[in-house]
Symmetry: C2
C-alpha cells in the first residue's frame, strides 16, 4: 500500500498511510466542494449537480493534494494540466477553483449568466482551462497532444483528464486511447468516473461498456480500478499514477452519481437537473462539513513556477527560386509540403499532426525532416484534430493534415478547437472532382460552407505553387484557426516568386480595358477560368479573371468594385465544390444589393469516378462549360 503524506514531494518517494485527521479533514473538504457544486446549479436553475458529486472525492484529492499548479497563474506553462472532458461537471471545477482561492465568492454568483467566466461548460474565459469541453469524447485526445509535447521536451508535467463513463461510448476516446498506448504517453492520466448513469438511462442499459479494465489494458494502458469514494484508494491510485512509467495510466473509479445524497445517489432522471432550494438544504444535511476544516493546509499543490516567455511564430521567409522548378506544373499539396518543411526549420514552434496520408498531403516532407515535432495519429481524424488542439495548447502552432474530405467527420472537433482559441491550422488536400478516379468518397465537395461559418476562421483555397507556398507562411504567422484546401493534380505556376498573398486578398490574373465580364474562381479551376478567358479572347470576348484564394476573409469590397467597374450582365463564379458555401456564395454576398447577377458554376450532383478532365466537364466546372455559359449570357 502506498499512501500520500500531507507534505510529500511530487515524485512519489516519500509516502505512508493517511493520517486519520487528514482523512476527516478531507471528507469535510470534499463535502464542501459538493455543496458548492449543488449550490451553483440550484441558484442558476440549471446545470449538472449529480455528475459533480460522483467525481468530487477524486477531483478534490487531485486538486488539493496531487496536481502542481502555479499559485498565481493557472495558465503557467510549467504547471500540470487538467481537462474536464466531461464538461458538464463544470460546477465541480468552479467549486474547486473557488476553494483553492482562484475565484472569489462574488464571481461564483455569475455562474451560467451572460458575461460570466463560469459558463455552462468550461471555456477559455476561465484561466487554467486549456480547451473548451462540453462536446464529449474530445478531452483525452487533447490530453494526449499536450502530454506528448511535454514528454518529448523532457518536461516534468502531467496531464489529468476526467472522463464520464457515458462519454467512453465515443470512438474518439478509443482513438486517443490507442494512440496514447502506442506512443506510451506515461505522463497522461485518465480518470473515468464510472458513475453508471447517463442522461437517459443506466449506462449499461444503453451500451454495455464492460469489461472496462480489459478494454484499457488491451489498448496499452496501465489500469487501476478503485472505489472512487474510498479515500484511501483514491490517495493510493493517484500515487500509483504519479510513479507509473512506460504506459499511460487509467483510473477506473467506481462511483455513484449523486453520492452520497440519499435521494440522488444512483437515481435516474437526475442528470442535468438542478436541485430546488429545499432539496439543496436537504442535501446539505447529508454532506457534513466539520467546523475544524482548515482548507489552507491542503494547498500544498500551489507552487510558484518561474515565468516562461511565450512568443508568437513570425516567419518572414521569401522564396529565392530554389524551392521548386517553376517550368514544371505543380500541385498545391507539393507547395504546402515544401513550405512546411522549409518553415519548420525556421521555428521550432511548428508542430505537425498527421492521419496516415502524409505521403498524399505531402506533409511527410516535414515529418521526415523534423520527426521530433511530428505526431502520426493514424486513420483517426477526430483524434488527430483534438491532438492538434492539445499541441496548440502547449504554445505551439499545430498543423493537421488529411484529405479535406475526411475532416468532415471531425467538424465538431474543429469547431471546438476554434472555439478554444487553438492556434490550429487544418490543411486538407484532394479537393473536388479534380481528384478523379477515386470517386466521391474521397472528394471534398462540401467543406467550404462549414469552415466559412466558423466565427473568426480563415479559409484559403490557392491555385498554384507560389500562392500555396506563401499562404502556408501566412497561416503559420496568423494567430488562430485557419483552414487551407490544396489540390492534387499538377497545374502551371501562375505567380512570380516575389508576389505577396495577404490573407483577405485576391489577384487579378487577366484584365484589359475591353473586358466584358468578370470571372471569380478559386483553387484548381482558376486554370480552367484562364483557359476559357483565353479561348474567348481569341473570339474577341475579353474576361477579367480573379483568383479568389481567400474565401474568408473574402475581399468583398475589392471584388465588388471590379465587378461594378467591368459591368456586364453577370459575374461568373467557378469552383470545384458543391454549389452551396463556396466562392459562388461569397461573391453573391459581396454583390448583395448591387443588382449584378451571379452565374454560379459549381458541382450539383454526387460525382462519380473518372478522369479529372472528364469529371470537370461532366459537372460543368471546366473551361468549356464556362465558355458556353459566358456565350449564352453575353449573347
Amino acid at each position: 500500500m502506498v499512501y500520500c503524506l500531507r507534505e510529500n514531494d511530487y515524485l512519489g518517494e516519500n509516502v505512508m498511510p493517511l493520517e486519520a485527521q487528514l482523512k476527516a479533514q478531507f471528507q469535510s473538504l470534499s463535502n464542501l466542494i459538493r455543496r458548492d457544486s449543488i449550490d451553483l446549479t440550484t441558484r442558476s436553475g440549471s446545470g449538472h449537480p449529480t455528475t459533480c458529486l460522483s467525481a468530487a472525492d477524486l477531483m478534490t484529492w487531485l486538486f488539493f493534494r496531487e496536481i502542481r499548479l502555479d499559485a498565481s497563474n493557472l495558465d503557467h506553462p510549467h504547471a500540470d494540466k487538467y481537462i474536464f472532458s466531461k464538461g458538464h461537471a463544470a460546477p465541480l471545477l468552479y467549486s474547486l477553483m473557488y476553494r483553492l482561492g482562484y475565484l472569489e465568492a462574488a464571481e461564483m454568483e455569475t455562474f451560467r449568466k451572460i458575461g460570466s467566466r463560469l459558463e455552462g461548460h468550461p471555456t477559455l474565459r476561465l484561466p487554467g482551462v486549456v480547451a473548451a469541453t462540453g462536446s464529449l469524447g474530445q478531452g483525452l485526445s487533447i490530453g494526449v497532444g499536450m502530454a506528448e509535447v511535454y514528454k518529448r521536451e523532457g518536461r516534468d508535467q502531467r496531464v489529468y483528464v476526467l472522463l464520464g463513463d457515458g462519454e467512453i461510448n465515443e470512438g474518439q476516446v478509443w482513438e486517443a486511447a490507442m494512440l496514447a498506448g502506442s506512443l506510451k504517453v506515461d505522463n497522461l492520466v485518465a480518470i473515468v468516473d464510472r458513475n453508471k448513469i447517463q442522461q437517459s438511462n443506466f449506462c449499461d442499459s444503453i451500451v454495455n461498456a464492460e469489461p472496462l479494465h480489459d478494454k484499457f489494458t488491451a489498448f496499452g494502458w496501465e489500469v487501476a480500478r478503485i472505489n472512487g469514494h474510498d479515500l484511501d484508494a483514491v490517495a493510493e491510485v493517484f500515487a500509483q499514477a504519479r510513479s507509473n512509467r512506460g504506459k499511460p495510466f487509467a483510473i477506473i473509479a467506481d462511483t455513484e452519481k449523486g453520492f452520497p445524497v440519499s435521494f440522488l445517489s444512483g437515481k435516474l432522471k437526475r442528470h442535468g437537473v438542478a436541485l430546488k432550494a429545499d432539496e439543496r438544504d436537504l442535501a446539505y444535511g447529508e454532506l457534513p462539513v466539520g467546523d475544524d476544516l482548515d482548507i489552507a493546509a491542503f494547498t500544498v499543490s500551489k507552487q510558484n513556477f518561474a515565468p516562461l516567455e511565450k512568443t508568437a511564430v513570425k516567419i518572414d521567409y521569401l522564396m529565392n527560386g530554389s524551392e521548386f522548378d517553376a517550368s514544371k506544373e505543380q500541385a498545391a499539396r507539393a507547395a504546402y509540403g515544401d513550405a512546411l518543411k522549409l518553415m519548420g526549420g525556421l521555428s521550432d514552434k511548428v508542430w505537425v499532426v498527421d492521419g496516415d496520408v502524409s505521403n498524399s498531403t505531402y506533409s511527410e516532407r516535414f515529418a521526415q525532416a523534423y520527426p521530433d515535432r511530428h505526431i502520426e495519429c493514424g486513420i483517426a481524424e477526430q483524434n488527430m484534430i483534438s491532438v492538434g488542439v492539445g499541441v496548440a495548447a502547449t504554445g505551439k502552432v499545430a498543423l493537421a493534415n488529411s484529405f479535406a474530405r475526411f475532416f468532415e467527420r471531425a467538424f465538431d472537433q474543429i469547431e471546438m478547437g476554434a472555439y478554444s482559441q487553438a492556434n490550429l491550422k487544418v490543411v486538407g488536400s484532394h479537393i473536388g472532382v479534380s481528384i478523379g478516379e477515386d470517386g466521391a468518397s474521397q472528394m471534398a465537395m462540401a467543406d467550404c460552407g462549414f469552415m466559412r461559418a466558423i466565427p473568426g476562421s480563415v479559409v484559403l483555397c490557392p491555385a498554384d505553387y507560389v500562392s500555396t507556398f506563401y499562404l502556408t507562411r501566412e497561416i503559420l504567422n496568423h494567430d488562430g484557426f485557419c483552414y487551407m484546401r490544396t489540390f492534387r493534380g499538377n497545374r502551371p505556376v501562375l505567380y512570380p516568386i516575389d508576389e505577396s498573398f495577404p490573407i483577405g486578398g485576391c489577384k487579378v490574373l487577366k484584365a484589359s480595358d475591353a473586358d466584358k465580364a468578370v470571372v471569380v474562381a478559386s483553387g484548381y479551376v482558376v486554370h480552367e477560368a484562364l483557359k476559357a478567358a483565353e479561348e474567348l479572347a481569341e473570339k474577341g470576348l475579353n474576361l477579367r479573371v480573379i483568383d479568389a484564394y481567400s474565401l474568408k476573409p473574402f475581399p468583398a469590397e475589392e471584388i465588388r468594385q471590379i465587378c461594378e467597374e467591368v459591368g456586364g450582365p453577370a459575374v461568373f463564379t467557378l469552383e470545384d465544390h458543391y454549389a452551396t458555401g463556396g466562392v459562388g456564395d461569397a461573391v453573391l454576398e459581396a454583390l448583395n444589393g448591387s443588382g449584378i447577377r451571379v452565374e454560379k458554376l459549381a458541382v450539383t450532383a454526387f460525382p462519380e469516378s473518372g478522369k479529372p478532365e472528364d469529371l470537370l466537364a461532366k459537372y460543368g466546372v471546366d473551361a468549356a462549360a464556362l465558355v458556353k455559359r459566358v456565350q449564352e449570357v453575353l449573347g
Copy 2:
C-alpha cells in the same frame, strides 16, 4: 477441426475436412481473382491492387462457399449481405462479381471510367452494394444496423464486413464494436484483413493496434485469429462464424499485403499503386491457375430466393386536435416526438436510432412505444448515423436523433449516407443560441450550410408545433435523405391543425397592402420576427413576415416574387445560426441579380452561456435587433 464440404448446407451441421481436389481448385480460383484485381488496376492505371491480394483468399472463400446470394438479384432482401468497409478493395469485389457471373467481361473494361458502375470505391450503382464505402471506418456500423434488423425480425441472414487493419484506427469501428457486443449481434461477422501495411507505413509504426484479439474480446466479441492465406484455416473459421451464437464474431486474419507476389508481398510504397503492364505479367507468373479450374462447381451459394415486396412509407395522418394542447406554448422537439410516436404506429417500416439524448430530442416517445424498432447507440454519433444507414439498407426508413450540434462530428457519415441513397432522416434538436445556459459547445450554429450543400438533400427548420408535426410526416414519406432541426424552448403555436406544409414551401404569416418590407425567418426566431412586426405595426410600419421552414428545396421563386411585390430598400433575414449557410444565404441566392439588398441578421461570434432571451439580444437576432435594423434601413 471443422471443415466445410462442398455441398454442405448453411447451418454448419454437416462438415468434414477439405478434399485435396477442392483445395487445389480453390487455390486456382483465388489466384484468378487476384489476377483479375491486378488487371483491373493496371488497365485503369490507378487503384489499389495489393490490398485486394491480401484479402483474396478470405473473400473468395466467402463468396464462393459461404455467403448466400440470390442467383439473379444481388439486392434480394433475403440474401446474406457483404460490406467492403475497406472500400479501396473494390477491384477484389468486382473480380468476385465477375467470376460469380454477375458482371460481364465488357463491363470490367469500364473500371474507374466515367459512366461505369465499377467506380474507384464501391457505390450503389452496383447491385449488391448496400452502402457506398471508401471513407474508412463506417462499414462495421452499417453492418450492425443491418444485422440487428435481421435478428429482431427473426430472419436467417448474416452480414459480413471486410475491414482493413489501418481502418481500425478509426474510433467509429470501436463504437460499432461496443454496440455490437452489447446487443449481441451474433449474425454479424467482421473480417479484419491484418495485412500490416497502411498507406504511409507499416501499421504498427503508425499506431500499434495490438493486441487485437484482446481488443475485440474486451468489446464483447467472439474472436478467431487465423492465417488468412491458409485455406484450411479460412474454411474452418467461416464455419465457426456460421455456427457462432450469442456474440458477434470477429475473424482476425493475418495476411500479407500483395501476397503471394514476391515483389509486392509485405512491401511498402505499394499502397494505391497500380502495376505497370510488365509487372502485371510478372505477377501472373506467381499466380498459377490450373487448367482444370471448374468455377461453376463453386457457385453453391447462389440460390433463388422468393421475391419480397418492398413498399414505400406512405403516411397520410391528419391532426385532429388531440395531439397537443394548442393553448400552450410548445417546443418543436415535442411536436417531433409526438409525431414520431403517432406515425410510428402507422407503419412498421419506421425505425429510430438514438444517441443517449432521446429524453432531450423527445424521440423517447417513439422508443417507449416501439422498443422493437428502436436502437439505442449511446453517445457515439458516427456509429449512430451509419447504423441508421444500415437500417435503411434493409428497406426501412431510419430516423437518427441527437442535439443538432453533435451531428457535426458525423458529417462525413451523413454525406456518405446520402450518397448511399439511404432513406435516412437526421433530426437535430437544440439549435442555436436559444438553447441558453449550456453554452456554445451544445449549440448547432453551423449545420445548415453543410446540410444544404449535400446534393438532393431536404433541409427543414420549422417554427411551431403544427409545422414540425406535419414536416415529420413529410420526411417520413420522402424517399431520401432529409435533415430537420428542432428547437428546445416552448413557443406559441402558429398554425391551424389543417394547414399543409409541403417540402419546398413557405408560409406568409403576416401581410397587408401597406407592407414596407419583407422579413424572412426560419425556426425559433420566426416568433421574434412576428414580435418585431407587431411592434413596428403599432408605429405604422408594416412588415410582411415569411416563415421559411424549407431551407432546401428553398421556395426561391415564391420569396422573390413576394420581395419584388412588397419592394422596399431591403429584405431582412433572421436566423438563430451563424451568418454563413442558412436562411440569409438562401435568400441572397433567391434574390440573385434582383438588386434587392438582403439585411442579414445572424450570429457572428462564438456564443456564450446565458438566458435564451439575453443571448438572442446579445447576438442581435431578437425582435429588438430586428426593429432597430428595420428602422435604421427604412429611416
